[in-house]
Symmetry: C2
Subunit: 223 residues, 2 copies
């Protein structure tokens, strides 16, 4: 019982590695050695290589032929790029989801927002945040779009975790509430425009560091 969604060793490895990269347990630039990973998972390196191809496509690893795979690095420019892509795609998804949003879904999203507010660490906050966004976007029923958004969200979360490695301050997210309110009242375009601004905020720091700066120097209130 408790069957996993995907069955192959390769997909399991790619999921675990993606999670570690996003959480910052594997830091940018680190070499991913196929034999070592194979040994850890008790497999040969063949499925490991397949997992690498997946991570590459997600933008979490980069592979140079004959020279191995390393954890992708990311600078502020890329974080902003991801934020803008997310803004564009989430707005699209929300417009299509709007008609299919039920009160039950909006209530669940409200609950996710509440959980974000009381989160005790950045991981709990991000988990609630991701649930919020997924809940209001999933009803669009556009699978390719949702998959892209998921990948971009992972990249954003990676930045979030790396920037917030130390310390966590509780705060209330007004944007999420404003989005829900607009949606409940049928003001879809207003919800979309708050969402757009909300997501674009990522990587826009108060005291903005310059290009090429290491990401962890910067702070951003993110969603």
């Amino acid at each position: 019982m408790a069957k996993e969604p995907e069955d192959t060793i390769a997909s399991r490895i790619s999921r675990v590695l993606a999670d570690r990269i996003v959480r910052g347990e594997l830091s940018a630039g680190l070499r991913l050695r196929q034999d070592h990973i194979a040994e850890e998972f008790g497999t040969s390196h063949v499925p490991v290589r397949e997992a690498f191809r997946r991570l590459e496509a997600q933008g979490l690893a980069i592979s140079e032929p004959r020279r191995g795979v390393r954890v992708a690095s990311f600078d502020l420019k890329e974080v902003r790029e991801v934020a803008e892509m997310r803004a564009a795609l989430e707005v699209l998804a929300l417009r299509h989801a709007a008609n299919h949003l039920t009160p039950a879904i909006l209530d669940a999203a409200e609950e996710a927002a509440r959980e974000g507010d009381v989160a005790v660490d950045v991981h709990a906050w991000e988990d609630a945040n991701r649930r919020f966004h997924r809940l209001i976007l999933a009803p669009c029923g556009m699978n390719r779009l949702l998959a892209s958004i998921d990948d971009l969200h992972a990249a954003s979360a990676r930045f979030l975790f790396s920037a917030w490695r130390s310390g966590w301050e509780k705060r209330t997210d007004h944007d999420h509430r404003a989005i829900l309110l607009a949606l409940r009242q049928g003001r879809v375009e207003e919800a979309a425009s708050i969402l757009e601004r909300h997501v674009q905020w990522i990587g826009r720091a108060p005291k903005s560091a310059q290009r090429g700066t290491n990401v962890s120097d910067v702070f951003a209130i993110v969603g």
Copy 2:
């Protein structure tokens, strides 16, 4: 000499298979048997499996554990989804590219538009079309965004080829010209809005078929 960009057998295989799928030589639903492909390329099946993972990420193939890989099918709903994603992302790219567009680039794009107008078949037209879009978007310098757009463009081209399998009528693309004119005169938002409408046109047929319809029943003047 004449070194290819990527060196591994897996990447070569994935490029060739992607091209065949897009051109319709491998039709939707067809099983891709790793041993057969391995034999064709004179390799073992290991690099073939890696190529499969890449195609999967591009949305050109779907893989079911233990049951093999098949060419992804696509219906009108998915074509429209891709069109809307492309519209959203190309607009984003154009806004960022606008400041970096030189007269030389715009001239090259004009030339690509001209080549599209005189194309003798759908493949030549699509080639010119892709060059046009790439030329005006690439200067945005956002690699992840451009890679996503490329994948979406491939999906669009696949639809185009499947819809146009028989017959080709010459036609002039006014949108491309209008976009260039607006860009030359610095009216970026106007160019973006023409581009958005232009790309969204894909899959919007004159005599629109209903959901679940086979894609090749429908016609659309696409970009």
